[in-house]
């Protein structure tokens, strides 16, 4: 018998399935992240954490320096030309510094690490999953989450704030280069404004954001790779490729959403 308004029930059922799937995934991700976080404090993790700090942190230094420098230079350039119209070019240092420390530093650092290290983490763990290397760990009685995931999460928590600080610093230097050295703004005023307008709260808020982004990027990257074999839309190498793409997109979107939420909370 044909049910009237069948399309409506199908539509609602599809929405229901989607919501249930998303909530299940969210729950699984939360359990996965919590387990991985707890296992950071297991003995014999230090060596692995250091090697991942080198990969996620130290190896990202150059790209952070480049992006930070040119972001600061663009900020200096734009703010100089905007402020000079109202004769307030002296506030350039304030604008550059607060933009970097509060927003651009943590967000752009997180996005750059997502692109460079997050994608690599997903691909590496995904390949380990499809080639049974993770199953091999289980058969050797080595906890895969402790061995593979926890060190990467710990390394992210350490690397993100440090790279954010580096981004902020080099961004301020970039603002100085474009605003003072190229456009001729007053050097003393710029440096005074940088120092006077930056509160400790701005810096700690930036670091809080960096820690939140570290959790998002490392958690999403590891989770997508670890469960690459569970994808229903593809298998094998293709699944790893799609998991990597999904990990980068999800991380970037979540970074921007979290930025708004955390900023709102910090401003209360």
């Amino acid at each position: 018998m044909k049910t009237p308004y069948r399309w409506l029930t199908d539509f609602l059922a599809a929405i229901g399935r989607l919501v249930i799937t998303q909530i299940s995934s969210l729950g699984a991700a939360a359990i996965f992240f919590t387990l991985a976080f707890v296992k950071i404090f297991h003995p014999r993790q230090m060596g692995k954490i250091l090697s991942h700090i080198y990969y996620i942190g130290a190896n990202s230094t150059l790209i952070i320096l480049l992006v930070g420098l040119f972001t600061g230079m663009v900020l200096g350039l734009q703010s100089y030309h905007a402020l000079i119209k109202v004769g307030a070019q002296g506030a350039m240092g304030t604008l550059v510094t607060l933009s970097l420390v509060r927003e651009l530093g943590p967000v752009l650092t997180a996005i750059m690490i997502t692109a460079r290290a997050g994608s690599a983490i997903t691909a590496e763990i995904g390949i380990q999953r499809i080639s049974e290397q993770i199953d091999a760990l289980s058969t050797m009685r080595i906890d895969p989450i402790r061995y593979l995931i926890s060190p990467r999460i710990a390394a992210s928590f350490i690397s993100f704030p440090l790279l954010t600080a580096l981004f902020d610093l080099i961004g301020i230097v970039g603002g100085y280069i474009s605003g003072v050295l190229i456009l001729g703004a007053n050097a003393g005023t710029y440096l005074y404004r940088v120092q006077a307008s930056t509160d400790m709260k701005d810096i700690t808020d930036g670091f809080i954001k960096a820690l939140v982004f570290a959790a998002i990027v490392s958690g999403v990257s590891c989770y997508k790779g670890y469960f690459a074999h569970m994808r229903t839309d593809s298998h094998g190498a293709k699944a790893v490729g799609l998991a990597t793409t999904s990990s980068v997109v999800t991380s970037c979107v979540l970074i921007l959403i979290a930025d708004y939420v955390v900023t709102s909370l910090l401003l209360i």
Binding site: R44, E124, I127, Q128, S131, E132, Q133, D135, A136, S138, T139, M140, R141, I142, Y147
Partner: protein, 383 residues
């Protein structure tokens, strides 16, 4: 009979509506090589995963030395499973770690052994597996056989009592298959572990197995020696074994020792009266894997079109069986083999092939004939 090391009692495992293991009863004895055979998808790997504890049965129980796993305390289970190693079908070596790091991994991560002791034990296993030159190489830089040996070194570094091999020869050509099975047999004797193999490489696995378990439609339909399996009367024989043996023969032309004997008997059974044949023993020098592989395949292909069949007797030895052929005819066939096939192989300089031909009759012991052929062999080719 001694008590079994591992025993399955009415073990059932379902995935959704599909029953993969249906009331399995089996016994595995200590110090033996036990092979679980069956077609792909029969549930062999699922059965192995129950042994190593990656899966638990929905019904029934698994006993280790008579004690149910479910009655063991957490520490006892950790101790029990810590004595089992698992060798994956595709080796599952960590491709970002060197051979040394791969072998050391279980010791570093699961024991409190000091650095010097780890080094000593890892190097001991690496030397035993003849991988010393590959210590600092990555798995992708190794040949398939070396990867297998590295995986076996990793499986053995914790001195396990039980080693599980999941399809150890899958995807290998007949010569390499033989090499891997020989390696498992040699190391099993050397280290004394209990080996449990899962394979559909029938009947190649027979010659290293003490016991065979046949898994068919979710049930163990046979438990016994390879010889007993030959006389086993069950649909499994027709559906699984004969089809695989035929496929193997068609694809490779190189027989396993077990099939060689069966084929020998059946060939001679066909004609009563004067049942005669020639047996040719080929020896290849130097004893090098790829060289032996190429020459062995050429010999097998050449003689198969003339009604003969070939088996590998050792790393550098092949035995060909030529039914209803006199030694003089055999000589002629070997000459044709040389002229038409072996000279075209363009073998490396320094290669020597020797051949010995003897005549045999129905009922004669093959091993005696091989010994006689060894005594009369002569050089037929040198490059």
């Amino acid at each position: 009979m001694t008590a079994p090391l591992i025993e399955f009692r009415d073990v059932t495992k379902r995935f959704g509506n599909k029953t993969v293991l249906d009331g399995i009863n089996l016994k595995i004895y200590e110090g033996e090589v036990t092979t679980i055979i069956g077609l792909s998808g029969a549930g062999k790997s699922v059965l192995l995963k129950h042994i190593i504890g990656l899966l638990s049965p929905d019904e029934g129980e698994i006993l280790f030395r008579g004690q149910p796993l479910t009655s063991m305390s957490r520490d006892e289970r950790i101790l029990h499973f810590g004595r089992i190693s698992y060798m994956f079908q595709n080796n599952a070596l960590f491709d970002s770690l060197t051979v040394y790091e791969n072998v050391a991994l279980p010791l570093v991560e699961t024991t409190r052994v000091g650095r010097h002791e780890v080094h000593r034990r890892v190097m001991e296993r690496i030397e035993q597996m003849e991988l010393t030159e590959a210590t600092d190489k990555y798995p992708s830089e190794l040949s398939g056989g070396m990867q297998k040996r590295a995986a076996l070194a990793r499986a053995l570094v914790t001195d396990p009592n039980i080693v599980l091999f999941d399809e150890p020869t899958s995807g290998q050509d007949p010569v390499r298959k033989y090499g891997i099975l020989t390696m498992i047999a040699q190391y099993q004797k050397r280290f004394g572990f209990t080996a449990i193999l899962v394979s559909h490489e029938i009947p190649d696995v027979y010659f290293i197995s003490n016991r065979i378990l046949a898994l068919y439609q979710g049930k163990i339909v046979f438990q016994g020696t390879p010889e007993e399996l030959e006389h086993f009367d069950h649909p499994f024989q027709d559906e699984v074994m004969k089809s695989l043996e035929e496929l193997e023969r068609e694809l490779t032309g190189v027989y396993s020792k077990s099939l060689f004997k069966i084929q020998n008997r059946s060939q001679l059974r066909r004609k009563l009266g004067e049942d005669y044949f020639s047996l040719v023993l080929f020896t290849i020098e130097p004893s090098e894997s790829q060289l032996a592989h190429d020459v062995g395949k050429t010999i097998a292909n050449c003689f198969s079109v003339r009604g003969g069949f070939t088996v590998r007797n050792a790393m550098d030895e092949f035995v060909s069986f030529l039914p209803y052929t006199t030694p003089a005819e055999g000589e002629e066939m070997v000459k044709k083999l040389l002229d038409e096939r072996l000279f075209n192989l363009k073998l490396a300089a320094g290669t020597t092939i020797r051949a010995g031909i003897v005549s045999g009759k129905a009922g004669e012991e093959i091993n005696d004939l091989i010994s006689k052929a060894k005594q009369v062999r002569r050089e037929i080719m040198r490059t």
